[in-house]
């Protein structure tokens, strides 16, 4: 493992351990609902399902098709807020 991924793993562990990951998840979920992202995703998923037919689509198909779009549609302001939260968290637990 290189240094970067070691760092990621350590941060992830800390986030999980302190329960911060769950809080961040909750915050992100709320923000994405609030900005309409969830609705957009839902509509796109519906389109995919309609196109392929309910019987011929798996969750995995949706993940593959929707993930890139989903990532692209997350507003910068939301990313920024999450980043700030993570930074603040790390500053508080700077023993890493």
């Amino acid at each position: 493992m290189n240094k970067d991924s070691q760092m990621r793993a350590a941060i992830n562990q800390k986030l999980i351990e302190m329960g911060e990951r769950e809080r961040l998840k909750e915050l992100l979920r709320a923000k994405l609902v609030e900005c309409g992202w969830k609705d957009q995703m839902k509509a796109q998923c519906k389109d995919v399902i309609r196109e392929k037919g309910l019987e011929h689509v798996t969750v995995e198909d949706l993940v593959v098709e929707i993930t890139p779009k989903g990532r692209a549609l997350v507003p910068d302001s939301v990313k920024k807020e999450l980043l700030q939260r993570i930074r603040a968290f790390l500053a508080q637990h700077s023993t890493l």
Partner: protein, 544 residues
């Protein structure tokens, strides 16, 4: 089903309040119900049934407790340490855990797939969201018992950590699913559809009623109430105004384009509000208040099943009218001698505002109230703004020597000042610009132009400490923001005139309703109009 005119759209926000989609998937077009199982027969995935032996329930619970939701510090520590892919050491990449043995593997690189294939352990659980995957069916499965366990454990974990959704999203009940199945026809709201727009025939000087009906039928929360069939009538047949409103909403959202003839409504209004009976011209504001009053009285049956939930409005009533329209007005009377303050709070359905040009002097405003640029209104054009009127409404007023009040502090009759402020903001704020002056000396219409904004911030007029600083904590700020959704106008004179209304549909489409004729209008048309009744809707709603 898109069409939210509100800035931001749907559902749960931070724990303290709830953001509703005010132009949501209207109830008659909600989504398809999720099938209980994807895999093969409706009886469920057979591979799951093979798992459901012996102590599967407690075992599954332990997995959820320790590795998925991890509510306690101890389980979180364990999860942080041990949840990595046993093949590549990754901690992300959609980690799954085998349900048959202790094995974690990532999904993205198919390490969990490899394990499943080699060991023939064909069920795994997603450690981030708790979904259960069947490698034989090659998809996530939906098993009622397992979902129940997952949900229960998630709630427990949330409780331990003090996070999580406090309110769950709506799911159709069994009865609703049956109804949906038996009524396959759906009506869909698309961006350009005109569902919800319908003209109303004038039955002889009934434009005062038509303009209010247009405003009411386009009140988002009221529409949601009626279209979701929430009224339970306790009245004798044919005499309930709420039932008639229900019917009216059905007519409006039926998709029919011909004008509706509201004769039954008119008859009911005549029966229940005698002062409005007859073919004379009436005041739209008076009709609005009378209609709300009758609706409130006829809502009795809807309020009894709230399991004793306390009403959160100053009218102490849980009926839909009070939930939407009732606000609380705080009146502070300050004794000029001992400076003791006596406070009372009264319910209101609307705010009547004095205008410049009436015989009571409008200016000057209270100290520091030079107008400013609150709500994006400026005084460059010299016009009075709605904010000015509200400032005047909430300014401290000297009651004068002829109106001495007995002070509770110094127990004597003293001069005092009185100030009105908003204690509780209603969901829909109706502003009544007092254009009709009926004083002892004169009766006339005041046509002074008052500019009003599309979005209104009520902070400066509130009874809280925030009002003075004009600053609200960011989380609360959204709760005092309103959006204009209907404007009633009066053309003509005091003696004879005509009412029309502008109503908002979808995100930013406006329509002018002139009895039977509906035409598209621009935002400029709306904002340049004279304005008699202004209807604002809260943009964000609190959980109650």
């Amino acid at each position: 089903c898109n069409g939210a005119w509100l800035q931001r759209k749907q559902h749960t926000l931070q724990p303290t309040y709830y953001v509703m989609s005010l132009y949501p998937q209207i109830m008659f077009c909600f989504g398809r119900a999720r099938r209980s199982s994807r895999c093969g027969s409706p009886a469920g995935c057979s591979h799951v049934n093979a798992y459901k032996v012996d102590n599967w329930r407690p075992n599954l619970r332990v997995i959820y407790q320790c590795f998925v939701w991890s509510g306690s510090a101890e389980t979180r520590r364990r999860k942080a340490k041990s949840c990595i892919c046993h093949m590549c050491g990754a901690h992300l990449n959609r980690l799954h855990s085998c349900l048959y043995c202790v094995f974690f593997g990532c999904f993205t690189k198919k390490h969990i797939h490899e394990h499943a294939k080699n060991k023939r352990h064909n069920l795994a659980i997603d450690l981030l969201y708790g979904g259960i995957y069947c490698f034989v069916c090659q998809d996530y499965i939906y098993d009622k018992d397992m979902e129940q366990i997952a949900k229960e454990e998630q709630r427990k974990a949330w409780k331990l950590q003090g996070v999580g959704e406090k309110y769950s999203t709506w799911e159709p009940t069994k009865r609703e699913l049956d109804l949906l199945r038996h009524n396959p026809k759906r009506r869909k709201m698309t961006t350009n559809c005109t569902i919800g727009l319908r003209g109303l025939i004038n039955l002889g000087n009934t434009c005062f009623m038509n303009c209010i009906v247009q405003a009411l039928t386009h009140t988002p929360l009221l529409r949601d109430f009626f279209l979701s069939d929430r009224h339970k009538c306790e009245m004798q047949s044919n005499s309930c105004l709420v039932c008639e409103m229900s019917q009216l909403f059905q007519e409006f959202y039926s998709g029919h384009r011909s004008p509706h003839i509201p004769f039954r409504l008119l008859h009911l209004v005549w029966t229940h509000a005698r002062h409005l009976a007859g073919y004379e011209q009436q005041d739209a504001h008076e009709f609005l208040i009378a209609a709300l009053d009758v609706l409130h009285r006829h809502c009795k049956g809807d309020t009894t099943n709230d399991n004793g939930k306390k009403a959160n409005n100053p009218n102490h009533c849980n009926c839909i009218i009070d939930q939407i329209f009732t606000g609380g007005l705080q009146s502070d009377v300050t004794c000029q001698v001992c400076h003791g303050v006596s406070t009372t709070i009264d319910p209101f359905w609307d705010i009547s505002l004095d205008l410049p040009g009436s015989s009571t002097p409008f200016w000057p405003l209270s100290p520091g109230g030079d107008g400013g640029t609150v709500n994006g209104e400026s005084h460059l054009s010299g016009a009075t703004t709605l904010t000015d009127c509200l400032r005047r409404f909430t300014r401290p007023e000297h009651l004068g020597s002829s109106a001495k009040i007995k002070c509770g502090g110094c127990h004597s009759y003293q001069e005092s000042t009185k100030q009105l402020t908003m204690k509780k903001l209603p969901i829909v704020a109706c502003f009544h610009l007092k254009r009709f002056e009926h004083s002892a000396k004169l009766r006339r219409k005041i046509t002074t132009y008052v500019s009003f904004p599309l979005e209104l911030d009520m902070t400066p007029f509130m009874a809280s400490r925030w009002a003075s600083t004009n600053y609200l904590p960011p989380g609360l700020y959204v709760l005092v923001r309103y959006a204009l959704f209907a404007v009633v106008n009066h053309q003509g004179t005091l003696e004879s005139g005509h009412y029309t209304s502008f109503i908002r549909q979808h995100k930013d489409q406006w329509f002018k309703c002139d009895d039977a004729i509906i035409t598209k209008a621009s935002i400029k048309d709306v904002l340049d109009s004279e304005g008699y009744l202004l209807f604002y809707h809260k943009q964000f709603l609190e959980y109650e």
